[in-house]
Symmetry: C2
Subunit: 246 residues, 2 copies
DNA sequence: CCTTTCAGTGAACGTGCGTACACTGAAACT
DNA sequence: AGTTTCAGTGTACGCACGTTCACTGAAAGG
């Protein structure tokens, strides 16, 4: 044991190369070949390595906040999880709040990807509803951590992060309103479209939160409920002008 | 100054009698009469005093969580705000989580009071909607702190508190479903009533959160939106069975 | 009147926190 | 080859935290 330490200076502390990577999980993990991995992959530039650590920090934060929320996340926890010394955190983010804002951006990236999926093909109303709910459920499953983060920080402790989440949702809602305008809704005002959009987004958020915390076995029930609710809302919107005399 | 301290032993540290009371704000604060207040109100039993401190703790917690959430609330902060020494906290609650659960109970007490208000008189559908939104807005204004607490901790950091909030909402939703059953909704299944109830409660929660964070000047807009949405939902529900063949 | 109860005190502890500072060593640049 | 850049290191600091323990003194109760 002690003899082995004579050559190569076995360092106890972690180096940039020992950074824990969580996301990609490379394939091809056959039994180790002749050549050590560290020599098979030499071309990693300094900025590549930095980006890798940044990702590791974001992933660690995403995982750690799952229990405590961003408010209960400490710089030191993140650093330990990533495998760097606490002060090194500052090379990537000015503060936990900055980290939070980056996570908001990233999480809404996932959300936008979902929307893109939903927009592909737009048949009958009923089919739009079915497809929307399916896509939502699927994305919540695949992006659990991101959706959970958004749901938590929407009313969370950090004002800047909270506001950022809300701004994104408002933007999102406006986008849906313009989408709705393309449907055959006879001469709706922009205001009314926004109101409808707000209702739908709210219902979608509630559904996401429910999926997040529910037992996966209950997912069909939740999807059924979401579909029904969406349908109720749409039917209501279509009949609203005529049947509701103020 | 120093002379005055000779008799009566002017104590620097706070005693139970200096506990900061926030809630009741007694009336009748005429200029001090001949007799010191401490002698005009001698009959305060030990348990009364304890209850008073307990209230002060709850109120202080309610105020302090407004910035940071329950997760960011420390026993020492609360104690300082109340005017007791940190360890005295344990005379009233086992932990911050227990405090949180007490606040959940109290907050939903306020919510139930609101429901009671809403139920008084049940005229036409349109009037029910108007009245419901008015009562909601009014109660959110009057019970800002409690509603804010619920909204925050619904997805907050402490699992027991979070679960308690959700349980209360589920209960609440079930209650609304039985209320809805009394309306003339032709042979709806219990399941469908629950789905509708879930949708309405969700929309109400969203509205509350919006009122909480919005400028008071925007309240009319928000109320208009809430009314419209509620109406859309109800109209949709009424027309749903017939016009949505899946 | 004497005893018990108990809300509140005050000192002390160990821990984890954010942040400052000076540093190292390899990659990047000239 | 020589210099600069900079991600990550390691120490050290002061602070706020939760919790422990022995205590005090007035109200409650026999």
């Amino acid at each position: 044991m002690t003899a082995a330490a004579t050559e190569g200076q076995a360092r106890e502390h972690v180096t940039p190369d020992t950074v824990h990577i969580r996301a990609p999980k490379l394939v091809g993990d056959e039994p180790a070949t002749l050549i050590p991995v560290t020599e098979t992959t030499p071309p990693e530039s300094r900025s590549d390595k930095k980006e890798r650590t940044r990702r590791a920090i974001l992933d660690a934060a995403l995982t750690l906040t799952e229990d405590t929320g961003l408010a209960g996340l400490s710089l030191r926890q993140v650093a330990k999880e990533v495998g760097i010394v606490p002060t090194a955190f500052y090379r990537h983010f000015d503060s936990i709040d900055q980290l939070g804002l980056a996570l908001v951006e990233e999480s809404f990236g996932a959300l936008r990807a979902m929307i893109r999926d939903t927009r592909q093909g737009s048949p009958s109303l009923g089919q739009i509803v079915d497809r929307s709910v399916d896509v939502l459920a699927e994305h919540v499953r695949d992006q659990r951590a991101h959706f959970g983060f958004i749901a938590r920080e929407k009313s969370g402790g950090s004002a800047p992060v909270r506001d950022a989440v809300r701004r994104e949702f408002a933007y999102f809602e406006r986008e849906l309103a313009t989408d709705l305008a393309r449907l055959p809704m006879e001469h709706w005002s922009a205001d009314d479209l926004r109101i409808l959009s707000n209702l739908i987004v709210g219902s979608m958020i509630a559904t996401s939160e429910e999926i997040l915390r529910a037992d996966p076995r209950d997912l069909p029930d939740i999807k059924h409920r979401a579909r029904t609710q969406l349908l109720m809302v749409i039917v209501g919107a279509l009949n609203w002008k005529s049947s509701a005399p103020s």
